[in-house]
């Protein structure tokens, strides 16, 4: 995969910071500059710069409470950010939102809500259809296609509370697929799912990459980083490192990210880059 190209596009004033920031490349699916999120006086994410590579699968990793999900949510505007700019394919995020699809963590949803599997996927089309537009047969078949891609085609009429955790995760992925976006942002998609679902999800994500989409996942499992992802972004409140897995997923960077929390034996089991 290619590194971001050289055509710089800069966004609005950087508030007189001392170190000049790198310009935001036009084809970077997601770029953050100086993103800071704080709760009260405590920073959860501090002045993070990130440029995510196009047509690649990137993992955001770091210890619990290190700001991985917070960074993602703040970038999307799900939670308020203290400062920082977010650009999607070179444009301010609010302009380019229809090119993003977000798969949140499963925990935030009420499973007794009156909605069926197919209803959830159709929700992915609401933005497209607008307030008054009709949901046509074409929309319906598109939704069914997305369900088939995640292996949930037979479950369309089921109420969501009747699904297992892995199946629920698949439905959320299908909803994102229905949006036909160019950038997919997933928050811990593999957490708490069974092996078959994990396989199904990673197959879908690899297919997206093959279609030249960008995929960014907050990822919890270090053991699978090397096999699933092309790029990695290490964060612990601050950005530690970002780059291709082959160069960046090293013992040194992991130590810097996890502090003392990563036992050396655990490191031995990981498929790390050298150097």
């Amino acid at each position: 995969m290619t590194r971001p190209t050289e055509t710089p596009i800069t966004l609005a004033a950087t508030e007189g910071r001392v170190t000049p920031r790198a310009a935001i490349p036009a084809d970077a699916p997601l770029a953050l500059r100086g993103l800071t999120v704080s709760y009260g006086e405590k920073p959860a994410v501090f002045s993070v710069d990130a440029t995510f590579a196009p047509e690649a699968m990137t993992a955001i990793i770091g210890p619990n409470g290190a700001g991985k999900s917070t960074m993602l949510k703040a970038a999307l505007g799900v939670i308020p950010r203290l400062s920082g700019e977010v650009a999607v394919f070179g444009q301010p995020i609010d302009v380019a939102r229809d090119r993003i699809a977000y798969v949140p963590q499963r925990a935030s949803v009420d499973w007794d809500f009156p909605t069926t599997v197919i209803d959830v996927v159709l929700m992915g089309l609401y933005r497209r259809v607008g307030l008054l537009g009709r949901l046509t047969g074409a929309h319906l078949s598109r939704a069914r296609d997305c369900l088939d891609r995640v292996g949930m085609g037979d479950f369309a009429a089921r109420q969501i509370g009747q699904l297992s955790g892995g199946q629920q995760q698949r439905v959320f992925l299908a909803r994102a697929l229905a949006q036909d976006a160019d950038l997919y942002l997933l928050d811990e998609p593999f957490a708490g799912v069974d092996a078959a679902t994990e396989r199904a999800i990673i197959d879908v994500l690899k297919a997206l990459k093959a279609q030249k989409k960008a995929v960014v996942c907050v990822h919890h499992d270090l053991a699978t980083v090397a096999s699933y992802f092309d790029e990695v972004f290490l964060i612990n409140v601050r950005r530690i490192a970002q780059g291709p897995v082959a160069e960046t997923f090293t013992a040194e960077n992991l130590h810097a990210t996890y502090g003392g929390r990563l036992a050396t034996t655990h490191l031995d089991q990981l498929d790390l880059a050298q150097g």
Binding site: G40, K73, V78, D112
Partner: protein
């Protein structure tokens, strides 16, 4: 402040203070457990409770009324729980269904039986009659030592004093249990505390306080006392002990200032007639809460609360 004060204002103020404190104390734990609206539910169902008691006993005497109200609170809590479980309905909606229906039933029965010489007033049940709880037999401060005059104290004072004392005692006795189970129910259960019983006990105590207080300040205002003083206290301190202390302070302040403004305020504006003391007490507690929301040292949310995210 002479004899007129003792005769007309002392007992209402005392009753108001005791009612406010009796409600504010359990209110501290209710708001921490996000159960504040159980007070809303209880307050609405006292009406059908006293209506049924009136039907059954044919009188408007105090004890049957209180028993009826207490019974109604119990019935309401049981029904809410049943609806939650059988219907798989979330707590707020279950409460809403239960207490509005029971209230409507109460109003209907009231309309149907409202003929005889004894008259039950919906507005009284809602707004109370604090102003009329005067100590007629008092002649001045000396009456505090006169057994004859003391015997003629309004009954409501005795009742609310007993209930308030009971609430204070229960709070002190079960303080540690309440504290632990409110902050971390899982931990409390692991310690072997009877968390369900604690929860039920808290609601029962709140119900008793509500029932005793409604007689004086009406049922809807009781909610103000459950919520506003403890909520304001929560915003000015981080420690539970201080919160409870502050809630008592704010409750007393609301009762005193509310009564004074209601009784004497209109005089300052040139009018002769007092306005609703209960309403004014609620309003003052609201002002205190408002000030706490704007200036309280611990008013902001720390950490990502549910509402902060969405």
């Amino acid at each position: 402040m002479g004899n007129e004060f003792v005769q007309f204002s002392l007992t209402p103020m005392l009753i108001g203070i005791l009612a406010a404190v009796a409600c504010a104390l359990p209110g501290n734990f209710l708001i921490l457990r996000r159960q504040a609206l159980i007070g809303d539910a209880i307050s609405h169902v006292v009406l059908p409770g006293i209506v049924v008691a009136f039907l059954v006993t044919g009188t408007v005497a105090a004890i049957p009324m209180l028993l009826g109200a207490a019974g109604a609170a119990l019935v309401a809590v049981v029904l809410i729980e049943a609806i939650k479980r059988l219907g798989r309905i979330e707590p707020g909606a279950a409460m809403g269904v239960t207490f509005t229906t029971l209230f409507a039933a109460g109003v209907l029965i009231l309309e149907q039986t409202d003929t005889s010489s004894v008259h039950l007033d919906v507005e009284h049940a809602l707004m109370g009659n604090l102003e009329s709880l005067i100590w007629f037999r008092a002649k001045g401060w000396g009456s505090l030592f006169d057994p004859v005059a003391l015997a003629a104290l309004p009954d409501e004072l005795g009742r609310i004093a007993v209930v308030c004392a009971l609430v204070v005692v229960l709070t002190i006795v079960f303080w540690r249990w309440l504290k632990i189970s409110t902050f971390d129910e899982g931990f409390a259960q692991a310690l072997g505390l009877p968390v369900t019983a604690i929860g039920l006990g808290l609601v029962a105590t709140a119900a008793v306080a509500a029932v005793a207080a409604f007689d004086a300040v009406g049922s809807i205002i009781v909610i103000a006392m459950f919520i506003c003083p403890p909520a304001a206290a929560r915003l000015v301190t981080n420690r539970l002990e201080h919160q409870v202390m502050w809630s008592v302070v704010f409750a007393v302040l609301s009762a005193v200032l509310g009564y004074v403004f209601a009784g004497y305020g209109p005089l300052w504006f040139g009018s002769q007639n007092a306005v609703s003391a209960a309403g004014m007490i609620a309003a003052v507690s609201g002002v205190i809460l408002g000030l706490a929301c704007l200036f309280g040292p611990h008013r902001s949310r720390v950490g990502v609360g549910r509402e902060e995210v969405l």
